[in-house]
Amino acid sequence: MQNIPSGEEYMTEVKVEVIGTDPPCMRCQAAKKAVEKAAEKLKTVGVKVVIEKVNVMSKETVQKYGVLVSPAIAINNTVKIMGRVPSPEEVEKLLLEAAK
């Protein structure tokens, strides 16, 4: 990770969709927190993470990804995690991979 330059010169943007129920269920909130924590950490190495909260029940979501089990997390339009709450470290790893 030492090779990643800091500051403006490194501006990768990663889009993360946290897909959950509305009203939010506890596990969806836990998933969102994990993503937020990971995003906070990646900010220090110059990766910009845009977090979007998506309703799993909306037609748009179903049209885009098909039927999902929440909580789900999609990184750059690819669902990577479904039906479980990941650890912030795991999300961080996935986000770094996507930022490359």
Partner: protein, 349 residues
């Protein structure tokens, strides 16, 4: 020690724990001791009022802790290891498969509204339509793995089996009937999108290593326990008092027979109790010293709980009131019919 051995050891430790839990349950079976409370109302009546719940809870947990541990561990494991991607993929394929999966998979997927609500929406939007969606919704509370295990342990395995079969039949009927009604069709038409995932979006599930998955499974089991146990304990306290102060004669008078079945189904519905509490309450009302006073009425009571408020809130946004009303009516009719039928067939109405 390198990373790989560490992971293997961790996985081993968790697997050992799971084996112990399963072993304990089997051991309790071989020893054939009851996992349900054993103190009788007459014994309990001898204690001061405030002591009754304490004694009852102690009595329950000294027996029931293995069963609860097993139930929550299994629920966590099954939920984690069931191939969710495969299910969600097939849910959308055809009506027959939709109904089949709704019935077969509901027991494993519905321990949490995180799963129920999106699957209901998913089936309705992208897949088989309103029929299977309703079937799934009605099947869910009656047949999740925790409910089956606890009905079996606390009341009787026969009743647990009948409950599942009766709920499945009612759920299937409700789905089929609602999909034929004009208002059901209207909801379906309004929401169906048909189109499959666009090319830009993909689903590539990342699978963590075994030890992490096992740990996640146990954590989910613990989460479920944290959600459910407070209500469960409250239910047990009420049941402690019910067993002591609700005389058997009153139950025999009003809550058995044909009137008993109808009354049980009617109070079972609106008297919303959170998951699993309906089982302890049912036990407190109808089971006296190990004898079920009316199997029919108890089944009706257990089936009369067709709705979970958290899910209902999300679902009612989609389904119109007519659909909800039809659904409630069929659920109620199903609970009465099967209560009567089971009561008559088992000779315990």
């Amino acid at each position: 020690m390198n990373e790989k051995t560490k992971r293997a050891i961790r996985a081993g430790v968790i697997l050992a724990f799971i084996s112990i839990v399963i072993g304990l349950l089997i051991y309790s079976r071989i020893q054939a001791y009851s996992l349900a409370p054993t103190s009788t109302p007459i014994e309990l009546r001898g204690y001061p009022l405030w002591q009754i719940p304490i004694i009852y809870l102690y009595d329950y947990f000294s027996h029931g802790v293995i069963c609860l541990l097993f139930a929550f561990t299994m629920a966590g494991l099954i939920y984690e290891f069931i191939p969710k991607e495969t299910i969600t993929k097939y849910m959308a394929s055809s009506k027959a498969i939709g109904y089949g999966l709704a019935l077969l998979m509901a027991p494993f997927l519905t321990v949490c509204s995180c799963t129920m609500v999106p699957l209901f929406g998913g089936i309705l939007y992208a897949g088989a339509g309103i029929g299977p969606a309703i079937t799934f919704l009605l099947m869910a509370p009656a047949s999740n793995i925790l409910a089956i295990l606890l009905t079996g342990e606390l009341i009787s395995w026969e009743l647990a089996g009948v409950r599942v079969v009766a709920s499945a039949t009612t759920a299937l009927l409700a789905g089929l009937i609602i999909s034929k009604t004009p208002w059901g069709k209207a909801v379906e038409k309004e929401h169906q999108i048909g189109a499959m995932p666009s090319s830009a979006a993909k689903v590539e599930i990342v699978k963590p290593p075994l030890d992490e998955r096992l740990w996640t499974a146990l954590k989910f089991g613990a989460y479920l326990a944290k959600q459910i146990l407070p209500y469960f304990i409250l239910g047990l306290i009420i049941v402690g008092y019910l067993e002591v102060f609700l005389p058997e004669e009153i139950i025999r008078e009003y809550l058995t027979g044909v009137d008993g079945v109808i009354l049980a189904s009617v109070i079972g519905g609106p008297l919303y109790t959170p998951t699993l509490v309906e089982i302890v309450l049912g036990r407190g009302i109808w089971v006296r010293e190990g004898v079920i006073l009316s199997k029919g009425a108890l089944l009706s009571w257990l089936m009369g709980q067709p709705y979970d408020f958290a899910n209902a809130l999300a679902v009612s946004k989609i389904a119109k009131w007519k659909v909800v009303a039809t659904y409630m009516l069929i659920a109620w009719a199903g609970s009465v019919t099967f209560g009567m039928l089971y009561g008559l067939l088992s000779g315990s109405l």
